[in-house]
Amino acid sequence: MGGASAVRARGVVKTFGDVVALDHVDLDVEEGQVHGLVGPNGAGKSTLLGLLLGLTAADRGRLEVLGTVVGRTGAAPADVAGFVDEPGLYPSLTPRQNLAALASLRDAHADDVAWALDQVGLTEVADDRVRGFSLGMRQRLGLASAMLTRPRLLVLDEPTNGLDPGARRQVHAVVAGLAAAGTAVVLSSHRMDDLAELCSEVTLLTTGRVVFAGPVEKLVAESGEIDHLVRTTDPAAARSVAEQVPGVRVVEPGTGRRPGDDALVVRGSLTAVDELVVRLVCAGVQLRELGPVVAPLEAAFLALTGDEPEDRPDDVVGPLR
């Protein structure tokens, strides 16, 4: 904290006819910070990102981007770049042509095209038509086009959508590197693991309103009790121990578990779960797996947006071993 302000929004309202897309939204992003926007579909994330990019103007409220008041369409400073919804790419052009055209429009250096392609790992396909690209390749090219002008504020909408794990790691590294160099990044994502890994702060929107804004840790801490999966060598003994730990409740297993799986699901605060681990060890019950059924950030998201946690396959959240 304490860096220069990249985004400062106060009481921003945006409506489309009768639909209130943003309802008195406040937002603060500092330079060098990766700030996550999270919320269910239709929460207003894309509208807010569009305002930051100057695609439209707020009906009411005040929005400052890099110290410039953005009060009309197209008034975002030149140091802002990014994409909303999906990267804008022209399928009849190659990645190099797409980026070169953008570089020409935005006064970027021609050398930056090769640099941006290299950053996202698309150098080898730089002269192929974009028409045949996968969603993941298009996402990476979109990121390249966004960072081409070396902006001070980077706005990204679902930047890891459609990426395989390797490409996702690459995008994470690029975003983290830009932030380390002082670029403010505002990104929206439905992937809680992205937000947890990249963002220092998040703003949670639902139906156009901010329901949480602050550090990720605070959001997790505010999420209260979390369901944990406990797999041991002796399920019956483990259940008996768990029932005696204050603040821990044994929850009936959901439908998403593997057939024949006799693991326990317990609900409690992190402190209470820590106590359960101690007591299991003291009771001679060997612990094989322990992990949240739903990621803490996701649990917080679901709690704050009013959605019920769903049963997830085991590979959604990797158990702590």
Binding site: V65, T68, T73, A76, G88
Partner: protein
């Protein structure tokens, strides 16, 4: 709205800088010329007309229904003008539809509007870049049609004089100049159709209807042309320029219909472009439900054009001598007598007879439409005319009979009914061999807007 103190230690942001128009234009041009459809069109426009003229010029059956079509064996210029006539019928509206009719809608289909606006930072320049790029591509297509048709024609039938629509022989630089001017005049209605394409593309979003807007307009205007409308209405149509260029290919150019056609078409181009511009700037690109299409097209898109059409008719009615259908007995007789005189002279030259002048011939015509019970006015295929002329040194007056099929746009086809030694045979034995008889059947043009008589 709450007052907010400026954040501390903020580095000054770079000012908002829209991308330069030249670069925006270049980007739009690049996007257009990398589309396979546009490349195919360019290839077709630069090759197909020449090939068409070359092939048709070598066949015995010629497209006599098309103006200048019956002369394709005689000179290469006629083939080039047949291409121009065909282009005005369908090709140019279709080309504008495929280029300008899609230039905005394609961004909706690709989902690239937001990217483009973030890159350019000015909807105005995006619009201008797209409009200019479309105009450039359409210009290249038109240039291809003009050049290809001419090269094909000259290679196939040679650079020989062309008998104009009044029979007057046109040749050399004068003919070339008129050919270039004709294509330049055709650019005006082409621009009007392109502007309507832009409007359709902006107003109808990703709907394919935007693509076909110019073609729909062309069909609608073609249907209107078939109706028995007053001359003032015909001249006020944006497609008037697509036929008015014929008036250039006579000895004394009648500029009236051509000037009116060009001005009306330019007015359409300006108004349709302005409406498209206004609609485009009003669009909210963050509204997921707004792709630019909708009912507002009727109010904000079509009404201004309908108003323009009404104003055009009014202005043409007041500012020009356009009355009735524009085709009446006096005008037809004047045109036919003049054309006959020029063609008689041409026939004499081809037969190796002593040259005569139009002044010596004193040709005249007497026309009647449909007999005594029908008024001698308006287009139709029931005009029957007797042409008379004087031969130098002879007291007898020669006469020939023609059946005329007069179109509403002033063009007519005169079909000879005798005498046999004048207009009775398709071919004649010229000094250099067999040649088409210029008096057997010929095209003519009625001046629909003659200058006011000086009594």
């Amino acid at each position: 709205m709450s007052a907010v103190a400026t954040a501390p230690a903020v580095r000054a942001a770079s000012a908002v800088r829209p991308a330069p128009l030249v670069r925006t234009y270049r980007f739009e041009l690049l996007k257009l010329v990398t589309q396979w459809r546009v490349r195919l069109l360019l290839l077709a426009c630069w090759l197909a007309p020449g090939a068409f003229v070359g092939i048709v010029s070598r066949q015995s059956a010629l497209p006599a229904d098309t103006v200048f079509g019956r002369l394709m064996h005689a000179t290469g210029w006629s083939g080039a003008l047949v291409v121009l006539a065909f282009a005005c019928l369908w090709a140019l509206p279709l080309l504008t539809a495929l280029v300008a009719g899609d230039v905005f809608a394609v961004e909706d289909r690709l989902g690239t509007w937001r990217h483009l606006l973030v890159a350019v930072r000015s909807p105005r320049r995006v619009f201008a870049g797209k409009a200019l790029a479309s105009a450039t591509v359409i210009g290249l297509l038109v240039l291809g049609l003009a050049a290809s048709g001419l090269v094909g024609g000259l290679l196939a039938a040679g650079n020989r004089p062309l008998a104009g629509l009044d029979g007057y022989p046109l040749a050399g630089a004068g003919l070339a100049g008129r050919y270039v001017l004709a294509w330049l005049c055709v650019l005006a209605p082409t621009a009007a159709f392109a502007a309507v394409g832009l409007l359709g593309s902006v107003a109808l979003g990703r709907s394919p209807m935007g693509l076909v807007t110019p073609a729909v307009l062309a069909v609608a205007l073609a249907v209107v042309q078939l109706l028995p409308l007053p001359l003032a209405v015909r001249l006020a149509l944006p497609s008037q320029g697509f036929t008015a260029w014929r008036g250039l290919f006579v000895e004394h150019v009648a500029p009236g219909p051509l000037v009116v056609g060009v001005l009306v078409a330019l007015a359409w181009a300006v108004v349709a472009t302005a409406v498209a511009y206004r609609l485009f700037l009003r669009r909210d690109f963050t509204n997921p439900a707004d792709d630019g299409s909708g009912r507002r097209l009727v109010l904000t898109g079509l009404l201004p054009l309908a108003a323009l059409a009404a104003v055009s008719v009014l202005v043409v009615s007041v500012a020009t001598p356009a009355t009735g259908s524009g085709v009446d007995r006096a005008r037809l007789e004047t045109s036919l007598a003049t054309t006959y005189g020029h063609l008689y002279r041409l026939q004499s030259q081809e037969l190796g007879r002593p040259d005569v002048t139009e002044a010596q011939l004193q040709s005249s015509a007497a026309c009647d439409k449909g007999g005594s019970l029908v008024e001698d006015e308006g287009p139709g295929n029931d005009w029957r005319c007797v042409v008379s002329w004087h031969l130098p040194g002879a007291r007898a007056v020669g006469s020939a009979v023609y059946q005329l099929d007069v179109a509403a746009d002033g063009r007519y086809v005169a079909d000879g009914d005798g005498p046999q030694d004048v207009n009775g045979f398709f071919l004649l034995r010229a000094r250099y061999g067999t040649a088409p008889n210029p008096l057997w059947q010929f095209d003519g043009l009625v001046d629909l807007l003659p200058p006011p008589r000086k009594d």
